[in-house]
Amino acid sequence: MQLHHRLQAETDMAVATHFATDHQPATIDLSVRGLTKRFGSMEILRDVSFSVAKGSVVALIGSNGAGKSTLLRCCLRLTEPDTGSVEILGTQLNGLKHSALAKTRAKVGFVFQKHNLSGRLSALSNVVHGVQSRFGGPLAWHQALAPRAVRDDAMEMLEHVGLAHRATSRADKLSGGQSQRVAIARALMQRPSIIFADEPVASLDPTAGEEVMALLISLARTRGVTVVFTTHNLRHALDYSERIIGLRAGCIAMDDRASSYSAETLRTFYA
């Protein structure tokens, strides 16, 4: 068993170093091994294995139903995988109890396609919620109750996403692009080491989508945060990621540097 683990670690290191831009030995932030997930008779993920080096940006592509979202959710055990293992930031997620799992989740920002903000609360309150990765209780429920340091921090995050002037606006009064930027600010409030983004711009118009994508990647790169995002936008996969993993029918069908693909070759993957 120890040999198996050592071999796996060596493989992870070799793969991650291969994709690291400077070819230095890389730290592994995410390691997925033999992940399988079925919903009834439908096999959504089949023996998926890959690892992601610290600070890299990885795009997951694949047609609808290929298993991209399920894979991201399984990586955080928001959906329980049937078999396989996930290791995030050196912590094996399998078998973790609720509180230990919450501690690991706290280091991972998750940006959802539908923003998932509390619509009746202000943008600022929604960003304050990000602090619940560090401490809970009523002080982290609403901006009016939050300590001054947390409010200042949340305002700074809103400033980073260009929405400090909409801090008091209700989340359900914001445009799609603004809502997604608030969701990014909430994720940043966690001080994450990794960000998972599940089709973060799928519900936005092309202009807003471009802005949000550029913002997400630039903020992540500035902070050295690892990003794994799913997308149907091949241009985004090529422009913003260093590595593209293609899923087909629940299996990894392609995995290489983004620079080794063209828009044309990626399009043929969908054919």
Binding site: A102, G109, F110, A140
Partner: protein
């Protein structure tokens, strides 16, 4: 010339086929209705015979006697105060019970079913019975009535609060779960804000209900204007009774109007 539509297409039968079980049930319900009419002594003729008595009572009531108006108004104020305090305390106590009575947020099945049972028990026993119990427990007066209203409010709000929480959007809750928030933090940050409009509307409706109930509670000695009404009717002082009935009407109407306006504003999201 093309065929008319009616010649080409045959509409389905207006009613589906009745199964033997449905037919038996229909006959049973019809028979139960006939027996109920008979056993309840329902008689249009007796009602018509009673109309002159109603007319006599109405003529005896006019003009209303306002000689004890200040005492009536004081009792009316006491009635509203009972309803206000009963609703306020009832709503506060309903919150934790409702959280435990939700399928999604209760810690386990045992707590869930226990909380549901308590809420059902409080709701199914009429407020008049609760008033009788509390009159025995704490003596005659408005406190007994207020306690009865608290229990009645818990039974009412506990159920509807729980339903509102169960219907809250899953998205924001999942976003908080993904960042490692605790169960309580998810309730405070995502569930309560989403359920709030429905809960405020329920609370206002509960206040209207409590105002109507507090009128009746006085009849069993549990404080409020009901006691005045009972005394006036027992002494055949119908003119004074009319003053009391008009005062009750104005109070209930005022609470309903204000409550209705607030509810509309909250549901529209302007509050």
């Amino acid at each position: 010339m093309p065929d008319p539509v009616s010649a080409r297409l045959q509409a389905p039968s207006r009613l589906g086929r009745t199964t033997p079980l449905q037919f038996t049930l229909l006959v049973a319900v019809g028979a139960a209705l006939v027996f109920s009419f008979y056993d309840s002594g329902f008689s249009v003729w007796r009602f018509i015979e009673g109309l002159p008595n109603i007319w006599r009572l109405l003529t005896d009531m006019f003009p209303p006697d306002i000689s004890r108006l200040s005492a009536v108004l004081l009792r009316l104020l006491e009635t509203f105060q009972m309803a206000f305090v009963g609703t306020f305390v009832g709503v506060i106590l309903s919150l934790p019970i409702a959280i435990l009575a939700t399928r999604t947020h209760s810690p386990n099945r045992f707590v869930y079913y226990s909380a549901r049972t308590v809420v059902s028990f409080f709701r199914t026993i009429p407020d008049l019975i609760w008033a009788l119990i509390f009159v025995v427990a704490v003596g005659l007066g408005p406190f007994a009535g207020t306690l009865a209203l608290i229990v009645d409010t818990i039974g009412f709000c506990g159920r509807f609060f729980a339903e509102a929480m169960e219907e809250a959007d899953e998205g924001p809750q999942e976003a908080l779960r993904a960042l490692g928030a605790s169960r309580l933090d998810i309730i405070g940050s995502a569930v309560l804000p989403a359920a709030m409009p429905s809960m405020i509307a329920t609370s206002l409706f509960s206040l209207e209900k409590a105002t109507r109930s507090s009128v009746v509670l006085g009849i069993v000695g549990a404080g409020g204007i009901g006691m005045e009404l009972e005394v006036a009717m027992n002494l055949f002082n119908y003119q004074q009774a009319l003053t009391i009935i008009l005062a009750i009407f104005i109070l209930v109407l005022a609470v309903e109007q204000v409550g209705g306006k607030l509810r509309s504003r909250i549901i529209a999201g302007n509050a």
